[in-house]
């Protein structure tokens, strides 16, 4: 309500100078006056209730009491909780004390109600020492303003006159003060609500900022700015806790008189160090006087300091400090409450951001590893790979140096293959399993951190001179198989390896193991490739590799020396066009095609050298299949010109031998015919001439001649067979008839040794188409053979016809004797020329030793064969199988 709203019908009584005078009368007029004042008071109450906030309430109270109730000198103080000062909120008639004027504790009468919560009347202010001299040196009433049982302010009313107030005034002022207290309580509640809403909003904004700002340093700077604004302070700083070193590190600093970023504080050091230790917030009214201050802040002028730990759960994340540079401003419980609201949120946000940061760092590490692998995959040479890998590992882990060893399975030892910055070049050092750090991890298959190598009981004498500080080692494993080991070292005694380092090493180790294994396999493959390349390039056989289009991919030196084409002349060209002659082109292409379509091929052919001369080659073609896919073929050419010539020579020599034998046999036979013939003739004549006693001698001459003739005939047969001059004359004949004929012929011979000849012919023998002479001679040979080696026994000639599965008939002749038989060794050589069971056999049994060899050759010529089964002492059985229809060779001889 404003002054202008004052009703004119109730003019204010003129106030005495210096204050309102006490009216002692209690008359009707006074009663009327009281009613009017009570009405004004009621109106004031309504007005107060409508005031929106503290300052407005205070002004309404003061104005209402002045205008409606006639008090001319008055003011309303509220207590500043932080300082305890009474701060003047509104006043009338006090020109020297503007709003905001402060009365510190210990001064002024207005403090009196604060002490006991009751109205205080001072009839003569001049008598009071604590009175702060003002214009009205009369009397004063001080009324407490109580909110929720607590005195939060004082309503002070003065008068220039001494003892100017009575009971009525006390009642009116108390009522007004009570109304003010109620209004203030409500306003404060409202303000609190609003403030909380604001704080909440601010926090939400902070969180939004924080979540958007993942980079830790920026996040912290933003958090700090937010906090400084929220708290209305001069500046502040934020530190995060380095768990490993157990230190706080200032990471953000705003307006504290210097850039303290990077400052490190031990636990307990300075304000932040203190709260980091106690996990409790701390208010420091005057930093310079505080005993716990840090020397690191000696150059900074701050006064009031408020500090809080940042805790995520019970875990220390960091610390936060807010400062006032204004000596007049002090931190109070409200600030602390705000801080307590802010700190955990900030801590959680920081923790989360750190987590994100860690995640990102891990992602970076993974990426670095991937890069490592990508880099290293290009580097398959083992030595370079290992050095590159070690360099990568030491960088990744931020260590001074390290070394890498691979496991020599054969020796059961680790061999250091790469070494970096460890004070000694350890490459080549060998360690047993269990020796030193790497030997230990190779044995246990577990990583290992050694805080101080020099003091470690397991140290290797090979290293104790070079390494004395922290060492971290890990085995390189593929599955459970040891591939090698890696060790990293710090040369700084203050550095230690922690779980994070171990985690990173564990990330790296398997990748390194695989890379080493790949490189090893590659090296092995290279070696093998080299081996094969050497083999190919040193091979005396010409080797050429073709693609699927018959184009030359590569060829070896032997190819050049055979055909005259160097790789540069040959590669890319069609092989068959290059080296085949016109006559052999189709055949060559056929070979190539066959290899590609059906598989390996072997053959012989004539090819052409670069100079046009022909060369006879043996050819081997094989498909080249890579990963199951046919990519081309490999051709091998072996120069057989010499070989062919040698064979032709040999064949010619053999032919010459056979011809010689045939010729010689013929030449021998002519005189033999004379010898045999004349001896027979004379044998016939001696009886007539009366010289019968000469007959036995003549018989001996004839027999010897016959034997010699048989030998010569057999040799002639064999040599003709070998010379390929023996022809096959196929004709049809009755099998039974031949058997009977042979039996008749051979019977005298069989019976000579008192043997019996038995025939066992199946009824369905029928006819066969074969070389009659050879069939007959075969049977005669076998029968005469049986006769020779059997005495007083039985010789059986059996014949039968057999149908075989493919519709062809076979004739099977069996000659069985009950003679002396043969051992397996004798049988093995039986069908070879000039062999009888042993040398004495020939002397004892006669024969040329060629009969069976000839027999077998005859049988084979006709597409059949002869076999023998025998046991010493139990006789032998020869079985001849011949096709019923012998195929006449197209061109024999």
């Amino acid at each position: 309500m404003s002054r202008t709203s004052r009703p004119p019908s109730h003019p204010r009584p003129p106030a005495p100078p210096g204050g309102r005078r006490k009216t002692p009368r209690r008359s009707a007029r006074r009663r009327g006056e009281l009613a009017r004042r009570l009405g004004a008071l009621l109106k004031l109450s309504v007005e107060i209730g409508a005031a929106p906030e503290e300052r407005a309430i205070c002004r309404t109270v003061v104005t209402g009491l002045n205008e409606g109730l006639g008090y001319d000198f008055l003011g309303l103080f509220l207590v500043d909780e932080a300082s305890g000062d009474r701060v003047l909120m509104a006043s009338v008639g006090w020109p020297d004390a503007p709003p905001g004027f402060r009365l510190p504790p210990g001064r002024g009468l207005t403090e009196l109600p604060l002490v006991n919560g009751r109205l205080h009347y001072t009839p003569r202010v001049a008598a009071q020492a604590r009175y702060v001299p003002g214009p009205n040196r009369g009397s004063e009433v001080d009324v407490p303003i109580v909110v929720d049982g607590r005195t939060v302010g004082v309503l002070a009313v003065e008068s220039g006159a001494a003892d100017a107030f009575d009971q009525d005034d006390f009642e009116i002022l108390t009522a007004a003060a009570n109304q003010a207290g109620l209004a203030l309580a409500r306003a404060r509640l409202l303000a609190e609500e609003r403030r909380r809403a604001d704080e909440h909003e601010a926090l939400l904004a902070t969180m939004a900022d924080l979540s958007a700002e993942l980079e830790l340093s920026k996040l912290l700077q933003a958090t700090l700015r937010r906090a400084v604004t929220l708290l209305g302070v001069t500046g502040g700083e934020l530190a995060i806790y380095d768990e490993e070193r157990q230190q706080l590190e200032v990471v953000a600093s705003v307006n504290i008189g210097k850039d303290s970023t990077g400052t490190r504080l031990g636990l307990g050091e300075g304000a932040m160090g203190r709260v980091a230790q106690t996990h409790e917030p701390l208010l420091i009214p005057e930093y310079a006087e505080w005993l716990g201050r840090s020397t690191q802040y000696a150059d900074v002028t701050v006064h009031s300091v408020m500090v809080a730990p940042l805790l995520a759960g019970s875990r220390l994340v960091g610390a936060f400090a807010a400062v006032h540079a204004d000596p007049a401003r002090k931190f109070g419980p409200a600030d602390l409450r705000l801080l307590n609201m802010f700190a955990p949120q900030a801590a959680v946000a920081i923790a989360r951001a750190r987590l994100l940061e860690t995640e990102r760092r891990r992602a970076d590490e993974q990426r670095a590893l991937l890069e490592t692998m990508a880099d290293l995959s290009g580097e398959l040479e083992l030595a370079k790979l290992l050095q590159a890998m070690l360099t990568r590992a030491t960088t990744l882990l931020g260590v001074t140096g390290g070394e890498l060893a691979i496991y020599d399975e054969a020796a059961g030892e680790l061999v250091v293959v790469a070494s970096r910055n460890i004070g000694t070049d350890s490459a080549g050092t060998r360690m047993r399993l269990g020796e030193g750090a790497m030997g230990r991890v190779a044995q246990t298959h577990e990583p290992l951190i050694i805080p101080s190598y020099g003091e470690w009981e397991g140290r290797s004498p090979q290293y104790s001179a070079a390494i004395s500080f922290a060492v971290m080692a890990a085995p390189l494993l593929i599955g459970s198989r040891l591939v090698g080991a890696i060790a990293t070292v710090h040369d700084d005694p203050s550095r230690r390896f922690g779980p994070d380092d171990l985690r990173r090493l564990n990330l790296f180790a398997p990748q390194a193991a695989v890379a080493i294994e790949n490189a090893r396999l590659y090296t092995a493959a290279q070696r093998q490739k080299q081996y094969f390349e050497d083999l190919v390039s040193n091979s005396p056989v010409a080797i050429v590799v073709l693609d699927r289009d018959h184009r030359i991919v590569s060829c070896n030196p032997a190819f050049e020396s055979l055909f005259g084409y160097a790789p540069r002349d040959a590669v890319g060209r069609d092989l068959d066009a290059l080296i085949s002659t016109e006559a052999t082109r189709a055949e060559a292409v056929g070979y190539t095609q066959h290899v590609l379509e059906q598989g390996p091929v072997r053959g012989m052919g004539r090819r052409r050298r670069r100079d046009g001369t022909p060369v006879d080659v043996e050819i081997l073609g094989v498909p080249v299949v890579v990963d199951g896919e046919l990519v081309g073929l490999m051709g091998l050419y072996h120069d057989i010109t010499e070989l062919l010539k040698a064979r032709q020579d040999a064949e010619a020599a053999n032919r010459a031998k056979s011809q010689f034998l045939a010729h010689m046999s013929h030449e021998l036979r002519t005189p033999l015919n004379a010898i045999i013939g004349y001896s027979e003739m004379v044998e016939e004549e001696v009886g007539d001439l009366g010289h019968a006693e000469l007959a036995p001698d003549l018989q001996k001459i004839r027999a010897a001649g016959r034997h010699l003739l048989a030998l010569i005939n057999d040799i002639l047969d064999l040599s003709k067979i070998e010379a390929g001059k023996l022809e096959l004359f196929v004709e049809p004949f009755e099998v039974r008839q031949v058997v009977d004929e042979v039996a008749t012929t051979v019977r005298p011979l069989v019976e000579k040794n008192a043997n019996r000849l038995e025939l066992a012919c199946a009824p369905d023998l029928g006819t066969m188409r074969a070389d009659l002479v050879k069939v007959r001679q075969t049977l005669l040979n076998l029968l005469s053979n049986a006769s020779k080696f059997t005495e007083r026994g039985t010789i059986t000639l059996a014949a039968r016809r057999e149908a075989n599965g493919d519709g062809r008939d076979w004739l099977v002749f069996t000659v069985r004797d009950s003679g002396i038989g043969m051992t397996p060794e004798q049988m093995a050589k039986l069908f070879e020329a000039f062999t009888q069971a042993d040398a004495s056999t020939a002397r004892r049994y006669g024969g040329t030793g060629l009969g069976l060899a000839i027999t077998r050759r005859f049988c084979r010529m006709m597409g059949g064969d002869v076999r023998v089964a025998s046991e010493p002492g139990k006789g032998s059985t020869f079985t001849v199988r011949l096709p019923a229809a012998v195929e006449a060779p197209a061109a024999a001889g």
Binding site: I676, L728, V773
Partner: protein, 125 residues
């Protein structure tokens, strides 16, 4: 008494066979090569010709063909004699026009059997 022409270049074989046949009652005349054999056979009638196949001038097969080609000697039986019983010799001989075939060295009884068979056949005709 059958009259035989023996065509044989080898003197000892000629002498031996002729003497043995004469002892068995044959009248034997001799030629020493194929050409002479053909000439003699065409000049005078023989009951049977024994012809060696390996002969100088013209060989036994050619001689046999010529004898068969000439009307005067068309019907005279010819027995081919070869040095050795090789497959095909017999067929070649028959093909050339010989009536039979035997191998040397001569087994006299076997040869006489073949000779008698041919002489009986011709005599009966």
């Amino acid at each position: 008494m059958p009259k035989i022409l023996l065509v044989e270049d080898n003197e000892m074989n000629r002498d031996m066979l002729s003497r043995r046949l004469q002892r068995k009652g044959f009248e034997v005349e001799m030629a020493t090569d194929g050409r002479q054999g053909v000439t003699m056979a065409q000049a005078a009638p023989y009951d049977l010709i024994l012809m060696d196949m390996s002969l100088p001038e013209i060989d036994g097969w050619e001689a046999a063909r010529q004898l068969r080609a000439a009307p005067s000697t068309q019907q005279v039986p010819i027995i081919a004699l070869t040095a050795h019983a090789m497959s095909g010799d017999r067929e070649k001989a028959i093909e050339a026009g010989c009536d039979d075939y035997d191998t040397k060295p001569i087994e006299l009884e076997r040869l006489l059997g073949k000779m008698r068979a041919l002489l009986d056949r011709n005599g009966g005709a």
